[in-house]
Assembly symmetry: D2
């Protein structure tokens, strides 16, 4: 395996994934985020890292966002949106959080590959990234990459595509002016 | 060493430290926090963990607080307070942050043991916890504990004492009602 | 409320708590940690921060420790110890983690106030800090402090007392030599 | 802006970036990582999140990795590699860390866009992702995305391509067997 092969593997797999994503689901996610009072994101491992990158960009866009477990996490309410990312929809901690959160009645968005999981009964919107994670479901895109890398990459890119839709919907024209909301003492 | 000896060591050292803290400095810190638009906390290692515990309690008290490096960290301004904890006042990263922050002109509070450090020129208030850390300065309280444990414990207790002063100044009577600002999906 | 009153409240409550802790439980915890291949710590909110401070000190003492959720967290095995701190023993995420962990058969230590919780069936050792948290159980020490501050302070001090017992059992004489295991690029 | 436009923007920009990356630099990075005793990663904001994703994958590949600031971070030595990601090479905290680290003489890899920065004198290897970040340098690829999204995405994909090269060099054939090193109590 050399660089060119690794590069082509990654980029071609990503092209296949994003051909298969449903534009309506992404658009609905952008709308729900804009209409939320606050946004909470949730996941585990590398998936959580990608959702934290989403959270950070949402704050730049003027949307009040945090991750579940953040030091300054506030209480969730029925005006908020919880976005949980889990390929299988069966990760122990996210499932526990979704069930607990639902008692406070926020809108729940699930980003995953499995349309029929333990999370399904709690979801207001399912955004499907149809690539194989730990399970091996019909219609899933297979990958030559390590473990769930393709799913994790797809979450980051989906988040940044959604950020572009949100900027457009909020008519934010000068994307560079967003730096003023950015942490300035790093 | 048995439990009783360990317990007596820790509790007696803490008593000695808090006899030596200057009440006026603590009171001034509480006032500056109340008057800030936002509070940023900063530190490294176990000291950072203690400052994050302070941050979390400040949020419960209705004060908008984050740590430097938090995912949803906003930009700092001249209406904010930066509280940096560093025993020696010489830790590389906090010193770099204080210098950078000062270009945006927030108030700077330094909690430490060393009254004459690289941070001193940037400080608006120095709150002295006079226990030995890595340096060995005159007037410092020595410790039989591991590394800087006594300093770290002192920061947590000082933070919680300050929280009591803030609650009193803000006339928050029902301390149990603060749970409503607390993260509710853990 | 002035500084002296806040100080006396905090220090007197801590004295009362540590009079009531069972020395045998602390000693057993120190033994189990020394005999573990790896130590995992777990908790939520300020309790997690205190457990992370424990984890950091254990690493200084040459014990391989991480928190559940840490980026470089390895797989848990039956040679490891999981230490979960939860006053009530009912926090949703820690309970889910304890149940999941138990399928890999590590030793489980619970630090809490409630001796009869959802975690009890999974515990190999219960270390009681008998101060009131969200529940209000018989025999618990009440507190004038905000929310569960007394419990959180008690975890940190218990951790540092336990660290002293571990250093003694491992015959680590030069506590200052521990700095060589410490992160050196902060 | 609709989903298809956002998708095409992101994927086409990524294609342009990875056409421009130098394969030799990526190969050298993979070699240096394999030969290191430990790997430290460093960055700020979303860049740090991407580097933490890299760190996590390296651990799966049997490489001992942590981020600068992690709770269980050990001391760095001259057998280690520090990988710092910063587009401009001028971020205050990473520059301070690189300078401090260099006193312990690890190998330093810089992933960035600016080949002539404050970090340059400390670098053993520069891996160029030639897309515009805060500066606007000759030869840089411009982006229609928000802030430095393209740079951040590129770090993640570069990390995952590098992971494929490392797996190949270490002759790890069964990529799915890597799950056994993965955190198992999430």
């Amino acid at each position: 395996m050399n660089y060119q092969e690794a590069r082509d593997t990654v980029l071609q797999e990503l092209n296949t994934v994003f051909e298969a994503v449903d534009p309506n689901q992404v658009d609905q996610m952008a709308e729900m985020i804009i209409n939320a009072e606050k946004v909470f994101v949730c996941g585990v491992g590398r998936v959580l890292l990608m959702m934290q990158a989403f959270e950070k960009r949402l704050n730049h866009l003027g949307i009040d966002a945090c991750y579940v477990g953040e030091i300054n996490e506030p209480a969730i309410t029925d005006k908020d949106v919880l976005i949980v990312a889990s390929g299988s929809g069966e990760s122990v901690v996210p499932v526990a959080i979704v069930k607990k959160a639902k008692t406070f009645n926020p809108k729940v968005i699930h980003i995953g590959s499995n349309p029929d999981s333990s999370m399904t009964p709690y979801e207001d919107l399912f955004v499907r990234i149809p690539c194989r994670t730990k399970l091996d479901l019909p219609g899933e895109i297979s990958s030559e990459q390590i473990m769930s890398s393709l799913f994790e990459q797809s979450i980051l890119l989906l988040a940044d595509m959604t950020a572009l839709l949100i900027a457009d919907k909020k008519q934010i024209i000068d994307l560079h002016a967003l730096w003023r909301k950015h942490a300035n003492i790093e």
